[in-house]
């Protein structure tokens, strides 16, 4: 799409947005809720269509995509959307209010998506629409299908909502097109810190040309997740259960999402615990590979995995690994941060105490997305709070990482609030 075409799309969206805002917010939410329900239903034809299309373009395996979509979309229900509107905006009536507290969106929004994991696409489109803000979506080169399919499902339920979403595909190096996209009143960018910062700069540059309209930039940068296990999760039946749950978290989306655990921190004074966890996790990842095979990787990724395995061997770490590069578990001697080749490569790292583990995590607290927590008994809530204080936007049980609620405050930001403008009409 050229810069001129993008400007045309934004102009169309601003026009259609005026019509959308004439509708009651509750009606918009109801239509959106219906669409979300249509997607999250177990036999959803939309979900099935995406599961059929995504593997070919993303490189993910069909089995993994099907499982990932089923688990990831399950919490994205219509009722979850209504709850989100109530929690974050104070209810739909505030969007229609002519006096007192009122909330509104922007004339147009543009969202830049990254990666091949489709779930953020649903939130990226639904959130502005819930605020009656039409949205221009630039899909990732790795997933050109999810946004288009979701837009089609919106149009099938409500043509006006469908018309409020336009898909903009252009090369990521096309500076003119990016500049045109950044003329939207609200720009939301997801990606690496470098990419998000570049889009932010582009947005700031375009602000100079249209200073009169209210404008906002929202960036979601690099994050990663981990698991933290107390000794209670490292013995007996709990060990196998926990390992299977973490293997699921790792296997879904091939460990490429910000909610994918890169490391498992084993906390406690039992020197054999990390080894037990590593061995159990290796068994669980082998089983996961049978059910949800890892997707394609290029030779550079395979080389990085082979290199990391060899480096681990050199420093006497214990390596459990598949014959090829399908999965790897490295049992390290300490909690020192190490590189993450991803694609189902997990490090198991011991810490002698919760305090020591938190201290090791502190330098990367700002990049923490979620932590899967188990085996701490009565201490769980307290440790969860400490992790949230450190920067985690989500603390949950192993096995739940890839099924975040619709209201998950990704990057410690609420879902709707960053896209909303609040006002107070005090006069009668």
């Amino acid at each position: 799409m050229s810069a001129a075409q993008l400007r045309g799309a934004l102009a169309r969206l601003r026009d259609i947005g005026r019509i959308l805002r004439e509708r009651r917010a509750a009606d918009v939410h109801a239509a959106l809720a219906d669409v979300l329900d249509a997607w999250c239903a177990p036999a959803s034809p939309w979900q099935s269509a995406l599961a059929d299309a995504l593997p070919a373009v993303s490189g993910f395996s069909a089995e993994m995509v099907r499982e990932g979509l089923a688990r990831g979309l399950a919490p994205y229900t219509g009722s979850a959307l209504h709850a989100l509107v109530r929690d974050e905006l104070g209810g739909p009536e505030r969007q229609d209010a002519t006096r007192g507290p009122r909330v509104t969106g922007f004339a147009s929004a543009a969202t830049v998506l990254a990666g091949a994991i489709p779930l953020p696409t649903f939130v990226a489109i639904s959130a502005p629409l819930a605020l009656r803000t039409p949205v221009l979506v630039k899909p990732s080169m790795h997933d050109p299908v999810s946004a288009a399919l979701f837009a089609r499902s919106l149009a099938a339920r409500d043509p006006l909502l469908g018309a409020c979403v336009e898909i903009a595909s252009f090369d990521r190096d096309d500076a003119a097109s990016l500049a045109a996209l950044c003329e939207a009143e609200c720009v939301v960018a997801t990606g690496s810190d470098v990419a998000v910062a570049a889009i932010g700069r582009c947005f700031e540059a375009s602000r100079a040309h249209s200073a009169s309209a209210p404008r906002r930039f929202v960036g979601y940068g690099h994050r990663s997740s981990l698991a933290m296990l107390g000794l209670g999760a490292t013995r007996g039946d709990a060990l196998a259960t926990t390992a299977a749950a973490i293997a699921l978290d790792v296997a879904l989306w091939d460990q490429l999402g910000c909610l994918s655990p890169l490391a498992v921190h084993v906390v406690g004074a039992d020197r054999g615990a990390a080894g037990r966890v590593a061995e159990a996790l290796a068994d669980a990842l082998a089983a996961a590979e049978e059910r949800w095979p890892r997707g394609d990787i290029g030779p550079a990724v395979a080389a990085a995995i082979a290199h990391e395995r060899a480096e681990a061997e050199m420093r006497d770490a214990t390596v459990f690994a598949s014959r090829g590069t399908e999965w790897s578990v490295v049992c390290e001697a300490n909690a020192q941060r190490r590189s993450a080749p991803l694609h189902r490569f997990v490090r198991v790292q011991p810490s002698t105490s919760v305090e020591a583990c938190l201290a090791a995590l502190r330098p990367r607290g700002g990049q923490l997305a979620a932590v899967a927590l188990a085996g701490f008994g009565a201490e769980t809530a307290e440790i969860g709070a400490a992790l949230a204080e450190l920067g985690a936007s989500r603390v949950c049980a192993p096995g739940a990482l890839q099924s975040p609620p619709l209201g998950w405050p990704r990057d410690n930001l609420r879902v709707l609030l960053p896209l909303a403008r609040f006002g107070e009409v005090e006069c009668e």
Partner: protein
């Protein structure tokens, strides 16, 4: 040579090979295999971390019958531990890999520089100055700091040796205090042009980017005399700016009138005793490829199988270098390469290296 009698004997055999005239290089499989296996036995015995690594893989000297079975150490291990096959107290020199202060840097520990210097000279002559008459000297300008300024840089050391052994009186370094000395370099190049003396201009790819920018700012072009050549090395990892190699070569051609076919890329690593040069000057009639000195072997390993990659398919560049007598002879690099005729090309880490995650940066995959 090493003070250890066992090592001294191995060093002598290696040195004899390294000092043979580059013009007489030929592949001698039996000689390579014999020295490689003897060196492996020695290093297995004297380098404890390497011995443990080999034992874990079941590759002891008794079980390794061919040089292809010698386990290769990942280059990253040089950041984690001292891989030396001699007692620490005999350490005479230490080279460190490049990197920022916050990054752990790899280190090559040496008890002698003799092999290192013999190897670098032979390869440089073959790759960059194949037309230099025996005993002759060339005009060489170098865009790196001198060894005095960067004593732990193997690249600076290499150029120091090259200038000492092969440079004429007007040769020298053009980086001081971390800055390219553009004015001095311009004077030196203009003098060479006025004298009609061809120049070998050498440096890191990043230094050449600086040079091109400085020339562009000053609106300077210095067409170097016929016979001049450029040697560039290194990538842009950790640098704020990057330039594709094709664009760099075009820029060099524009600024210095050195055609791309006279620009030689060198592939080298601090951890290696030997370097690998493009064939464009020593074998200009055939495809550009990197050639391996006869005391080295380059294997391209399929990361999925651990075996040799199919012909033409990318593989991990793994090097067996008989000049590495003091550390470990077999090193698995972090780079991908592809075979070309009797040589290879390095294709870096690009293929498929981009993350597909929703917000995981590709560079994080490789960050330490």
């Amino acid at each position: 040579m090493s003070a250890d009698p066992g090592r001294a004997s191995l060093d002598a055999r290696a040195l004899a090979w390294l000092r043979e005239s580059p013009g007489s290089w030929r592949c001698d499989e039996a000689r390579f295999a014999a020295l490689a296996l003897d060196l492996f036995s020695f290093q297995f015995e004297h380098c404890a971390p390497y011995r443990r690594f080999c034992e874990r893989r079941g590759r002891t000297p008794e079980r390794v019958a061919q040089w292809r079975e010698i386990p290769a150490v990942p280059a990253g291990a040089f950041k984690e531990m001292a891989l030396r096959s001699f007692p620490a107290e005999r350490e005479a020199h230490l080279f460190r890999t490049s990197g920022t202060t916050s990054e752990r840097r790899g280190a090559l520990h040496l008890d002698t520089l003799e092999l290192y210097e013999a190897s670098l000279l032979a390869s440089f002559m073959r790759g960059v100055l194949p037309d230099l008459a025996p005993g002759g000297r060339a005009r060489i300008r170098v865009l790196t700091p001198s060894p005095r300024e960067a004593p732990d840089s193997s690249l600076s050391h290499m150029f120091g040796v090259v200038l000492h052994k092969l440079g004429d009186a007007a040769s020298g370094f053009d980086v001081q205090g971390g800055a390219l000395q553009v004015d001095e370099l311009v004077i030196a190049l203009e003098k060479a042009t006025a004298d009609g003396v061809s120049v070998a201009l050498c440096g890191t790819a990043f230094a050449f980017v600086h040079l091109l920018e400085a020339f562009a700012e000053r609106d300077v072009r210095i067409p170097l005399p016929p016979g001049s050549r450029v040697m560039e090395t290194g990538g842009f990892k950790g640098r704020a700016r990057e330039m594709p190699r094709g664009a760099l070569y075009l820029g060099i051609e524009h600024a210095l009138a050195v055609a791309p076919e006279r620009i030689v890329n060198q592939y080298g690593m601090t951890e290696l005793g030997s370097q690998f040069y493009d064939s464009v000057l020593c074998d200009p009639s055939r495809a550009r490829r990197k050639f391996a000195p006869p005391w080295t072997r380059v294997r391209l390993i399929d990361p999925e199988t651990g075996e040799d990659a199919r012909p033409g398919a990318p593989g991990i560049v793994t090097i067996i270098d008989l000049a590495n007598t003091g550390s470990v002879l077999a090193i698995q690099t972090a780079d991908l390469g592809r075979a070309i005729e009797d040589g290879f090309e390095v294709i870096g880490r690009e293929l498929g290296a981009e993350a597909r995650g929703c917000s995981i940066a590709a560079d994080e995959m490789l960050a330490r």
